[in-house]
């Protein structure tokens, strides 16, 4: 893999506003910091190669290499990536949380994985007011304070870096697609470190079509509602077309999605992945049913944990209606195509030659299939 250093990262990602703020480069060193959702390089470390560059999901993402590593074949054009099965799901009775998003599948699975020791710690995203805060959670009960969606970019992966530093070896991660991609890159030992062991126990990817810049979102929301009264933010599945803000005085404020879409940062339009393709399992809303999730099972480990969680009453799974699957594939495929066309147009795909940095690398056959 083509791994360079912090200067190239800063130049090609941060300075070009392509940074997703995922946190992959944070807490590895004193040079990168995240503040209110934005990543900054304070100084140049001047090293020719760094983990910051190696983990960045906006630099040298070799989709074939990663597909071979995790799914034993080159990347293909399936809009949802590689998977074993797709079902619907919701939290079962053994999961005690109540204030969660949609069916509560993500929280229930991570709760279960912690309780059973499949993971020795979970990297989740909590919040202070509406600012997302990365958290390392060691007890299942602590999952209950990190059950909500934020809709803003969060440097969650900084907590993965901290968890590794603290010696965790089976980390559970709940991640957006860019974070899932970065995690896959981290697990591939891109710098060829000698005594490397995969520190990750379970990756629960979540569906994402965009994540807002906190610094844009905060004043936008603050002009409509007192931020300190917000208890939950939700975007119910289609056909609803609104963001819903719940407050502690029982009010619900609706903001048309059209207004929100105007705030979406440009970097999200480069994202090819709607469903966190390099996870063990991926979870999203279920169109037409706000009380359930769509659950994509991708790996053996993912299947094993889902099956066991269902068996033990932490999760309730059901068949996926065909019509929903079609819509999901159409939406994911559309995002993938648009992103790849845009990246290619801007010279960010499959660049060859010395010093040519790419965002994405993938085999030509798949590329052609996606952009048809």
């Amino acid at each position: 893999m083509n791994v360079l250093g912090s200067n190239e990262l800063s130049e090609n990602v941060i300075n070009r506003n392509l940074c997703t703020g995922c946190g992959a480069c944070i807490d590895l060193c004193p040079y990168f910091k995240s503040y209110r959702g934005k990543t900054a390089m304070l100084f140049s470390c001047a090293l020719p190669q760094g983990r910051c560059f190696a983990y960045c999901p906006r630099l040298e993402v070799d989709l074939d290499y990663l597909s071979e590593k995790y799914f034993e074949r080159p990347y293909n054009s399936d809009p949802l990536g590689f998977y074993k099965s797709i079902v619907t799901s919701r939290a079962g009775k053994k999961f005690t949380g109540n204030n969660f998003q949609s069916g509560g599948t993500v929280s229930a699975i991570m709760y279960f994985a912690l309780e059973k020791g499949y993971v020795d710690g979970a990297v989740l995203t909590g919040q202070e007011s509406i600012l997302p805060i990365p958290r390392i959670v060691m007890n299942p009960e602590d999952v209950l304070s990190c059950t909500l969606s934020r809709y803003t970019a969060a440097p969650t992966l900084s907590a993965v870096n901290r968890a590794i530093e603290e010696g965790l070896s089976r980390i559970g991660i709940v991640s957006t697609p860019c974070q899932t991609l970065s995690t896959a890159m981290l697990r591939a030992n891109p710098l060829g470190e000698k005594d490397f062991t995969d520190p990750v126990g379970l990756v629960v990817g979540i569906f994402c079509t965009w994540a807002l810049d906190f610094r844009v979102f905060e004043p936008f929301i603050a002009s409509r509602v007192d931020i300190n009264t917000i208890t939950k933010i939700d975007i119910p599945p289609p056909p609803a077309e609104a963001m819903e803000i719940y407050t502690n005085n029982g009010n619900k404020i609706q903001i048309p999605l059209e207004e929100i879409r105007n705030l979406v940062p440009d970097t999200c339009s480069y994202c090819m992945d709607m469903t966190s393709e390099f996870s063990d399992i991926s979870v999203g809303v279920l169109e037409g049913d706000p009380g359930k999730n769509t659950l994509i099972i991708r790996t053996e480990r993912g299947k094993m944990i889902v099956d066991e969680a269902a068996r033990e009453g932490y999760l309730i799974v059901d068949d996926m209606p065909e019509i929903n699957l079609e819509h999901l594939k159409w939406a994911a495929g559309n995002k993938k195509k648009k992103a790849l066309l845009k990246a290619r147009k801007n010279g960010m795909v499959n660049n060859r030659g010395k010093d040519k940095i790419s965002y994405i690398r993938l085999n030509n056959e798949t590329l052609e299939e996606i952009i048809v």
Binding site: L28, C29, P30, K33, A40, M41, L42, F43, A46, G50
Partner: protein
């Protein structure tokens, strides 16, 4: 008893500034005021050390303009007074200076301005000499250390004779080098002050002292010009203008100040004393025309040796042009002809090189590879060090937090700086944080402007920094301006408890004055609050809290805010030789050059108290210069730098 007040007629080795102070004592000075600034500060320090013994009133004023006003009051009350400042200070004082030169003085009054050719300790090499011509007062320049004393004493007499202020100009090498000075007698110290104002406006001794009478320049400007004419007459016989050399020199060198010493050395180096003569002038403005005519008549070739601008050269050329029909045409060498540079300090080598080409004599500069060899020695033996702050300097910690907060904020915020040790903030040693740097207090005024450009689409956070002494000197009006105009920026006052850069002179915020007496200290925070600013006070050594506070202050750009970062200078009596922590690097934990560090402490934070151990590939503490502030323990990403409290 100080050696400065010995009353024996013998030689003493004095620094030029001490010689000026001794001259003031021999000249019966009663009041001395000034604002600290290199290379001038030792004059007021010397006088304040003997203030009680010699019945003087000495003060470090809030700024140079006020200093000049305080000294002028002494003169108006019939006392002999001296006011001392560096060149940049004359700029500050210049508004009052013009008025004072116009109103005239009573008791003998001297303005001592110390210039810094080459800007060794300044941000520019401005010329104070131009002010003498600008405001029409006599200018004296001592050519050696004895003269530094003698001319000062003489200047009081001159001032009283012409009833106006006299300016003495020194330069770094005159003020800070030392030489033998033969003492004269110290006078009695029974001066009495009384301000007379009952006489008519037109009477310079008994009437009110006012500057210009509106619309009637003939009443005051006319008499003022008579004073300068009188000075020129007196200068014809000034004992400090000397000539040395053949009666008809091949080349006449006209010089003054420290250049006199360089020129003498250059003549000796080239062994050309039979060919050239030196006219060393102490009275460089106005030039005495008869004296000049006499010397200009003796030769056709003239070299003017002076530092920085060709002020002496141009004044001589004007006289030579006027006298051309009597003295004939001359060939001038100097700055305009390209023999002497118009920037930087001179030295014997530069003067010798100029003489060598003018006189066509060979000048041996030693080995031809000397420069190359010297550079090689420097590179191999001297540590590579950029302009930075001292070990344990609170400014490093302050600039660190400011830098990191602005970078993390990510809106291209910047710092407007001014004069103080924190000028290092322009360079990597201060993390390239300071983006404008001009005169004292200017960062605050510039920030007051930047803050107002939101209507033109400017949304960068604006920060200004100033020191505690600078706050009183010049930042207060800028802050008032900002608050009044609701300019949203944050003024960070780097309060290190004194005018640290120039040697801990007191200021209105310190509880003591120049003479060591207790004084009320003005509370900077309360002043800012009274002005209407939101004020926070933090210890910059607490990096975390300081940075959080800065984040908070710059996040919303509303109103003028003040953050006082208070921590005494590492060299202050409060902290010097009193380390708070014993520092140590755990070599096992230090990450060294690996990803995750790459010498963060020695390469980026770069406190000189931290060293890089090339052999072991880890950092270590330089125990000799570390002052134990403990801050580096908080920046080490691996926690390898340990601090242990010194009990």
């Amino acid at each position: 008893m100080s050696y400065l007040t010995d009353n024996q007629n013998k030689d003493y080795l004095l620094m030029g500034n001490e010689a000026i102070a001794r001259g003031a004592l021999e000249g019966a000075v009663s009041v001395a005021s000034g604002y600290p600034g290199t290379p001038s500060s030792e004059i007021i320090e010397a006088l304040s050390s003997v203030a009680k013994e010699r019945n003087l009133y000495v003060e470090w004023s809030i700024n140079e303009k006020v200093a000049l006003e305080v000294a002028a009051a002494a003169s108006f009350a019939g006392l002999r007074a001296m006011c001392v400042m560096k060149q940049n200070g004359v700029n500050v004082a210049s508004d009052f200076l013009l008025h004072l030169a116009s109103s005239g003085t009573r008791g003998g009054m001297i303005l001592v301005a110390c210039d810094d050719p080459g800007a060794l300790s300044s941000v520019n090499e401005g010329e104070s000499r131009t002010f003498a011509r600008l405001v029409e007062i006599p200018l004296l320049e001592p050519g050696d250390f004895q003269e530094a004393k003698d001319i000062t004493k003489w200047a009081f007499e001159l001032s009283e004779e012409i009833r106006n202020l006299v300016m003495i100009r020194s330069v770094t090498r005159m003020s800070h080098a030392s030489g033998n000075v033969r003492y004269g007698q110290l006078p009695d110290t029974h001066a009495r002050a009384n301000f007379r104002f009952d006489g008519p406006l037109s009477d310079p001794e008994t009437g009110p002292v006012v500057s210009m009478i509106v619309g009637a320049s003939e009443l005051q400007h006319g008499p003022q010009q008579e004073k300068i004419k009188k000075a020129a007459e007196i200068f014809e016989d000034c004992p400090f203008n000397t000539y040395e050399g053949p009666e008809k020199p091949e080349l006449l060198i006209i010089t003054s100040s420290a250049c006199n010493l360089y020129t003498r050395e250059a003549i000796s180096l080239l062994d050309v004393k039979d060919r050239v003569g030196i006219l060393k002038l102490a009275t460089t403005w106005p030039l005495p025309p008869k004296l000049m005519k006499r010397h200009l008549s003796c030769t056709d070739r003239i070299l003017v040796v002076e530092e920085v601008l060709p002020i002496l050269e141009e004044n001589i050329k004007i006289l030579a042009a006027e006298m051309a029909h009597e003295i004939g045409p001359k060939t001038f060498y100097g700055k305009n002809a390209g023999n002497i540079p118009s920037i930087g300090e001179l030295n014997p080598d530069i003067v010798a090189s100029a003489l060598s080409s003018i006189l066509d004599v060979r000048y041996e500069t030693g080995s031809e590879r000397f420069a190359e060899e010297a550079m090689l020695l420097v590179e191999t033996m001297a540590p590579v060090r950029g302009l930075t702050m001292c070990p344990g300097c609170p400014h490093r910690a302050s600039l660190w937090s400011i830098h990191n907060a602005l970078e993390m904020d990510g809106r291209k915020g910047f710092v407007c700086g001014d004069i103080g040790c924190y000028v290092a903030g322009v360079f990597p040693g201060g993390f390239n944080t300071v983006k404008t740097l001009h005169s004292m207090g200017s960062g605050s005024g510039i920030a007051s402007g930047f803050g107002k450009f939101k209507q033109f689409g400017m949304d960068q956070p604006v920060v200004a920094v100033c020191g505690d002494s600078t706050f009183f000197h010049a930042a207060m009006p800028a802050l008032a301006n900002a608050i009044h105009h609701k300019s949203p920026f944050t003024l960070m006052i780097l309060d290190n408890r004194g005018a640290a850069m120039t040697g801990f002179q007191p200021h209105p915020g310190t509880p003591v004055n120049a003479m060591g007496e207790e004084t009320p200290s003005l509370d900077i925070a309360e002043i800012c609050r009274a002005m209407g600013a939101k004020v926070e006070i933090r210890d910059p050594f607490d990096l975390e809290e300081t940075q959080q506070t800065i984040h908070h202050l710059i996040e919303h750009q509303e109103g003028t805010k003040v953050l006082i970062l208070r921590q005494a200078c590492a060299l202050s009596p409060e902290r010097k030789d009193k380390p708070k922590y014993k520092m140590e690097v755990d070599e096992e934990v230090c990450l060294g050059e690996n990803c995750g560090c790459n010498r963060f402490c020695t390469r980026i934070f770069a406190c000189p108290g931290l060293l890089w151990d090339e052999e072991k590939g880890v950092s270590k503490i330089n125990d000799i210069i570390c002052v134990g502030c403990g801050v580096c323990a908080d920046i080490c990403p691996a926690g390898a730098i340990k601090r242990e409290e010194v009990v």
